[in-house]
C-alpha cells in the first residue's frame, strides 16, 4: 500500500521528465519496472549501447532497497555491460543497492543516475574478480549478498 503510493508518485514524475539517457520501458504494476539507460559521453566501452535495468520492489519499498539488475534480451538487443562491479549475470555491486548503503530517500531515478555515472566513469573493460565462480554458484537474492566494497571509486 505504502509502496504503491510512493511508486505511483514516482511514476507521475517519471512521465513528466527524466534525465537524458534514462527512459522508462514498462511499469505495468508496482512490483517490477524496466528502465533503459545509455551512457551519454563518448566512453568507448559503452558507445551506442542501451542497457536494460530491471527494478523489483517489495511491499516495504522505499524502506527496503529495490532489487536492481541488468537483464539480457534478444530483441531489442540488450546485454549486460562490462564493468569491474557488474557480474555477467547482471547483478550490480553498488553499495547504494545493498541493505547497508540504501536510504529511503533514494528513488528509481536516482538509482538509474548512479548506475549511469558508474558506467560513465569506468575505463576498465573487465568483470569483477571471481565472476565465473560467482555466476555459477550464487543463488542468493542480490540484496542479501554482502559485497565488500573495497574501493571508494565505485
Amino acid at each position: 500500500m505504502f509502496a504503491s503510493k510512493r511508486l505511483g508518485k514516482e511514476l507521475t514524475k517519471i512521465h513528466q521528465t527524466l534525465p537524458p539517457g534514462i527512459s522508462l520501458v514498462s511499469a505495468s504494476d508496482f512490483k517490477e519496472w524496466q528502465m533503459d539507460i545509455k551512457v551519454l559521453d563518448a566512453n568507448p566501452l559503452y558507445l551506442d549501447q542501451t542497457y536494460r535495468l530491471r527494478f523489483r520492489f517489495s511491499n516495504n519499498y522505499p524502506i527496503e532497497a529495490p532489487e536492481v539488475t541488468f537483464i539480457t534480451l534478444s530483441s531489442p538487443s540488450r546485454t549486460v555491460p562490462t564493468h569491474p562491479h557488474i557480474y555477467s549475470n547482471g547483478i550490480i555491486c553498488l553499495d547504494l543497492l545493498g541493505t547497508q548503503g540504501w536510504s529511503p530517500v533514494q528513488n528509481v531515478e536516482s538509482v538509474c543516475m548512479s548506475i549511469q555515472s558508474m558506467l560513465t566513469g569506468n575505463t576498465k573493460n573487465e568483470r569483477p574478480p571471481g565472476n565465473e565462480e560467482f555466476v555459477a554458484r550464487n543463488t542468493q537474492r542480490p540484496r542479501d549478498i554482502r559485497f565488500v566494497y573495497e574501493d571508494a571509486t565505485v
Binding site: M1, F2, R6, N60, P62, I63, S103, P104, V105
Partner: protein
C-alpha cells in the same frame, strides 16, 4: 501499510506520543496516502513517502521527515545493524539522540491547511477539505463512511447516507430485471452501474437502450449532439451527427486540426528540450563562474585599459574572447618568467657541480700522491727484508757445524727484531701526514 509494532524501548523513545493517532478512532485515515487537490511546495514533501509531511519531526541534523516514515526507516536499520546506530536517511549522519525535536507550529499549520480529497472518493464522496479536517469529515460527516446498521440485531455496517432509508439494509433482495440476489444496500449501485438487463434511455434520442449497451449506442447515436473536431481550438459549433459532417467540410478550423495538433506536439517537444537546455545552461554557468573565480587573480594582472578599450567597441562575445586572449598573453608572460628562473637555477646548479668536482679532483690527486709515497715505502721495506734474509742465509752457511735447532732460533729472533722497526716507521709517517 501498517507500521511494524515497536519491539524495543529504544524505538519507543523516538515514537513520541502522536496525538492524532492515539485518539480512539473507528477508521484512522492514513494521511500519507491522501490525494492532494492543489500542487504543494516541494519543500513540504517528505523525502521518504514523497507526500507532504504527516506529523513531521526534526532530527539532530535538521532534516525533517514524517514521524512514521522515519520510524519505519530506523526500525529497518535496527533490524539490520548489530551495533544499534542509526543514521539520517538524507545525510547519513549518525543519530546519537533519538529523542525527536518538534517542528515549528507554523509548519504544522501550513500542512493542515493543504486541501485534500476525501479518502472515500472512490466510493463517490465529492468532498474536498483541509487536511486537518479530513479525519473529522470521515468520522462524522462523510456520506460514504461505513457506520453500524441501524437495526439493533444486525452487526453489519452500511454507508452513512443509507441510514436515512431506515431499517436493516442487509436483507437479501432480487434485482427486478436480472433476478440476481443482492443485499439491499448494494442494490442501488447494481441497478445504476452494473445490471446488464435494466433499461436506460439515451440522453440524446430518448430511445430505450439496455444499460450494458448504452456506451456503444452513445457512440453511434445519430441524434447525439457532438462538438466540432476543432472545439479545443475555438470552434463553438455543436450539432447532431449529420449536420456536423456538413460543418466539418466547411469549418476552416477543423481542417487545421491535424496541423495544429502537430504544432502542439512540436511545441511540447521544444519546451521539453528547452527545459533540458536551460538546466544544462545553468550547470554550465555555475561551472563557468567557478572557473572565472579561480582565474580572477591572474586576470587582475592583465593590462586593464587596453582590454576595456577594445571591449567597449566590440560585442559581448568578442570581449569575452578578448578577455581570454589577454589571459592567454599574461599566462605566456608568466611562463617566460618561469623559464628564465629555471635557467638561472640551472646555471647555479652547474656552477655548484663544477666547484664540487674541482675540489674532489684535488682531493683525488692528494690521495694519489699519498698512495705513491706508500708504494715507495713498501718497496724500500721489501728490499730491506730481502737483504736481511740474505744475511741470515750467510750466517747459517758459516755455522753449518752447529745444530739445526740453534739456526732456527736465530731465524726467528732476527724476524722479531725487524717487526717493531717497521711499525715504528709506519706510525711516524702517518703522524706527519695528519
Amino acid at each position: 501499510m501498517a507500521t511494524p509494532p515497536p519491539s524495543s524501548p529504544r524505538r519507543l523513545s523516538l515514537l513520541q506520543a502522536d496525538a492524532a493517532l492515539q485518539r480512539p478512532q473507528v477508521n484512522p485515515v492514513d494521511l500519507r496516502s491522501l490525494e492532494y487537490v492543489d500542487p504543494y511546495d516541494h519543500n513540504l514533501m517528505c523525502a521518504i513517502c514523497h507526500s507532504p509531511f504527516v506529523c513531521p519531526v526534526r532530527l539532530e541534523c535538521d532534516h525533517v521527515f514524517c514521524q512514521r516514515c522515519v520510524n519505519d526507516a530506523m526500525s529497518y536499520q535496527d533490524r539490520d545493524s548489530r551495533v544499534y546506530i542509526v543514521s539520517c536517511p538524507s545525510c547519513r549522519r549518525k543519530i546519537e539522540n533519538r529523542a525527536i525535536a518538534p517542528v515549528p507550529k507554523i509548519l504544522s499549520h501550513i500542512l493542515d491547511d493543504l486541501r485534500v480529497k476525501c479518502p472515500l472518493e472512490f466510493l463517490g464522496c465529492p468532498e474536498v477539505t483541509a487536511r486537518g479536517d479530513v479525519q473529522d469529515h470521515v468520522d462524522k460527516y462523510c456520506a460514504y463512511a461505513e457506520v453500524e446498521c441501524s437495526s439493533e440485531s444486525c452487526l453489519l455496517t452500511v454507508l452513512r447516507k443509507d441510514l436515512v432509508k431506515g431499517g436493516c439494509l442487509h436483507r437479501v433482495v432480487n434485482c427486478e430485471d436480472c433476478e440476481r440476489s443482492f443485499m439491499e444496500k448494494d442494490l442501488e449501485i447494481h441497478r445504476l452501474r452494473h445490471c446488464e438487463v435494466v433499461e436506460s434511455s439515451c440522453p440524446d434520442c430518448n430511445v430505450p437502450v439496455l444499460l450494458r449497451d448504452i456506451k456503444v449506442h452513445i457512440e453511434r447515436c445519430p441524434n447525439a449532439i457532438l462538438l466540432c473536431n476543432a472545439a479545443e481550438y475555438g470552434c463553438a459549433f455543436a450539432a447532431r451527427r449529420e449536420t456536423l459532417d456538413e460543418h466539418l467540410n466547411t469549418c476552416p478550423l477543423a481542417k487545421l486540426v491535424p496541423f495544429l495538433r502537430l504544432q502542439n506536439e512540436r511545441l511540447e517537444a521544444h519546451e521539453a528540450a528547452l527545459k533540458l537546455l536551460r538546466h544544462k545552461n545553468s550547470i554550465l554557468e555555475t561551472s563557468f563562474s567557478t572557473i572565472q573565480e579561480t582565474l580572477s587573480p591572474s586576470a587582475n594582472l592583465i593590462d586593464a585599459p587596453s582590454s576595456s578599450a577594445t571591449a567597449s567597441d566590440t560585442g559581448p562575445f568578442d570581449s569575452t574572447a578578448h578577455h581570454l586572449l589577454c589571459l592567454h598573453e599574461s599566462l605566456r608572460e608568466e611562463v617566460s618568467r618561469v623559464s628564465a628562473a629555471v635557467s638561472e637555477v640551472d646555471a647555479k646548479a652547474s656552477m655548484m657541480v663544477m666547484n664540487e668536482s674541482l675540489r674532489i679532483k684535488e682531493d683525488l690527486s692528494h690521495a694519489n700522491a699519498a698512495i705513491g709515497s706508500m708504494r715507495m715505502q713498501l718497496h724500500w721495506l721489501m728490499s730491506a727484508r730481502l737483504q736481511n734474509q740474505q744475511r741470515v742465509a750467510m750466517v747459517r752457511a758459516q755455522s753449518s757445524g752447529e745444530g739445526l735447532t740453534s739456526s732456527a732460533d736465530a731465524g726467528s729472533s732476527s724476524g722479531s727484531v725487524e717487526l717493531p722497526v717497521r711499525r715504528l716507521s709506519d706510525s711516524t709517517r702517518q703522524d706527519t701526514k695528519l
